[in-house]
């Protein structure tokens, strides 16, 4: 029982170490030692009393756009600087019930809009493996927390790849569950048809345990799915050390363009050979609308964001600008002072594509192409492919400040946004390094086939062993 309290106390120590605070890697936004130790004591008593808990005493870092009672929820924005939620996310409630203890909230791109964790109002986060480089984004703080060893697991959120891309950049496992697998209640909305809470972990097994602990239908989120939730450890253990005989893995040509760097391709080729060695049948497939994912995503996500962020107006949320002479000016002053440049840019793009005269040309068109992207996946999985394997990102972690053009930054999501648009689950795992920087390999499966996704990822993880981090 004391181990639980000690483990949590040590995790809080690591989270409050100045090296990971605002003067260092800038991974952590908030901690609450008293609340974390109190929670640890409760878990310790319940666990000692015989309660079955899948995550008893597991310390966890949570991205700062997921609502928690005992720490602020700022979304990395000035406009929510003083905000603490009066309710908790269902995912947090379920993780607490499973015995997990929240030890810190992590830095993120403002309102999850970014791919580098450079747009946070609280300053950029640095990659623990190379502080001159980005940890990726928007969940860069949580990815860095796991990479830096603050905790073994952390929560992030995805709208277009914001867990898998930072997981690849930081050399850890990153999971985006099927849309609907995990309740979005208490996740501050960005793109409601795309958002999902995801998981960072040191291993696939731990990622599966956390994913399943927070999964399942929720009365507070009508888009959460009433689909049976597998039992994580048993499922992963059942496949440990087993071959992939009878499993068909598709290699989509669109994710391996001529422009893909040779060292990245070589790492992916080695992983594919490892999968073949495990007995998997490797087949070439095509997802022909892949190149349209980024344009589609950057119409739909800003459109939904422009609507969702209307609530930050100084009345419903945000400190109201007191020096305004009328309501209209108060709205404008509050929002203009509270939002950063990238958030404003996306609100403007979203408002534009939804405005009269442009709705059909942009928004409706993007929704139609989104349907084609979904069909690509449906056809491939219907043809007998069990899982797809791709690189997670086109490049390893880039240097902080190196990407200044907004659309060039958006292209970081080119291999990840498709899964969000189609709603299918995906996982990134480390598959090696290029010039010392981690490279991620991605598995994508069909809706609610997380069991297959974790199976193939765990098999490759076990086969690569130390090679995945060298």
């Amino acid at each position: 029982m004391e181990n639980i309290i000690d483990n949590v106390s040590e995790a809080v120590d690591r989270a409050t170490d100045p090296k990971v605070g605002s003067g260092g890697l800038n991974i952590i936004i908030a901690t609450n030692r008293e609340a974390s130790l109190s929670a640890a004591e409760q878990v310790s008593v319940a666990y000692g009393g015989g309660d079955t808990m899948a995550l008893a005493g597991v310390p966890i870092v949570v991205k700062d756009n997921i609502a928690t009672f005992d720490m602020p929820t700022t979304c990395g924005s000035r406009i929510l600087a003083a905000y603490t939620s009066p309710y908790e996310a269902t995912a947090i409630t379920r993780l607490r019930a499973a015995g997990a203890v929240v030890v810190a909230k992590s830095n993120m791109d403002e309102f999850a809009m970014g791919s580098s964790t450079e747009t946070s109002a609280y300053g950029m986060t640095r990659n623990p493996l190379d502080p001159e480089r980005s940890p990726g984004g928007s969940s860069g703080g949580s990815a860095a927390a796991v990479a830096a060893g603050i905790t073994r697991v952390a929560l992030g959120t995805e709208t277009g790849g914001s867990v898998r891309q930072p997981a690849a950049f930081c050399g850890v496992v990153g999971v985006k569950p099927t849309y609907g697998r995990v309740s979005r209640f208490g996740l501050v909305a960005f793109g409601s048809s795309l958002d999902q809470i995801g998981v960072f972990a040191r291993t696939v097994r731990e990622a599966a345990a956390v994913t399943y602990a927070m999964a399942g239908a929720d009365q507070y989120d009508s888009t959460s799915a009433d689909v049976p939730v597998p039992v994580a450890p048993a499922e992963i253990e059942a496949h440990r050390g087993k071959t992939l005989n009878g499993v068909t893995i598709g290699i989509p040509s669109e994710y391996f363009p001529e422009s893909l760097d040779a060292p990245m391709r070589a790492r992916c080729d080695a992983a594919i050979e490892a999968l073949r060695g495990l007995g998997a049948k490797i087949v070439d497939v095509s997802l022909p609308h892949t190149s349209l994912a980024v344009p589609v995503y950057y119409v739909i996500a800003p459109a939904e964001a422009s609507s969702n962020l209307a609530r930050f107006d100084g009345v419903r949320y945000g400190p109201r600008a007191a020096d305004s002479i009328d309501l209209r000016e108060m709205y404008e002053n509050t929002r203009t002072r509270g939002f950063g440049d990238e958030v404003k840019r996306r609100i403007l793009i979203g408002t534009y594509v939804l405005s009269h005269g442009y709705y059909d040309a942009y928004y409706r068109k993007a929704q139609a192409v989104r349907a084609l992207i979904s069909r690509d996946f449906d056809k491939v999985f219907a043809s007998g492919v069990d899982a797809l394997f791709t690189p997670t990102t086109p490049t390893p972690a880039f240097k902080l400040g190196a990407v200044t053009d907004p659309y060039e930054m958006y292209m970081s999501d080119i291999f990840t946004a498709t899964a969000n648009l189609a709603g299918v689950p995906a996982i990134s795992i480390p598959i090696g390094r290029v010039e010392g920087l981690p490279v991620g390999g991605q598995f994508i499966t069909s809706h609610f086939d997380e069991p297959r996704m974790f199976q193939v990822a765990a098999a490759l993880e076990a086969t690569l062993g130390d090679e995945a981090h060298s």
Binding site: F69, P86, Y87, E88, Y179, S193, Q219, Y220, S222, T223, H289, S291, L292, V294, P295, V296, Y298, V299, S306, A310, D313, A322, S324, I325, D326, L327, M330, Y331, E332, R335, T336, F339, K344, R345, I347, L348, T351, Y352, V353, S355, A361, Y362, R364, K365, A366, Q367, A368, V369, R370, A371, L372, D405, P406, Y407, Y410, N420, L421, A422, G423, H447
Partner: protein, 99 residues
Amino acid sequence: MAVTETDVRKIADLARLSIADSELPAMAAQMNSILANMDALTQIDTSTVTPSVTATPGGAPLRPDAVAPIPMNSTAQLLAPESRDGFILVPRLGTHEDV
């Protein structure tokens, strides 16, 4: 469909944001650069495609039309900047006449 500085001002007004005159040229240029990449979508024939509004297989589900009480750890009054007698106080706006 080039976005002009006048368009940016109008869009910002719709979005309840203020863009300084000095920032308009750069914002218009950035929006045009971003939207130019969206033009690839116009090359795709979607005349027979039903637009997808959700990532949920089978479309957007309906929920029961019933109130589900949310567990809160504070009352609405405690959340408001000011309250009195169970009511939330809001600031008097400059356009209101004094009473």
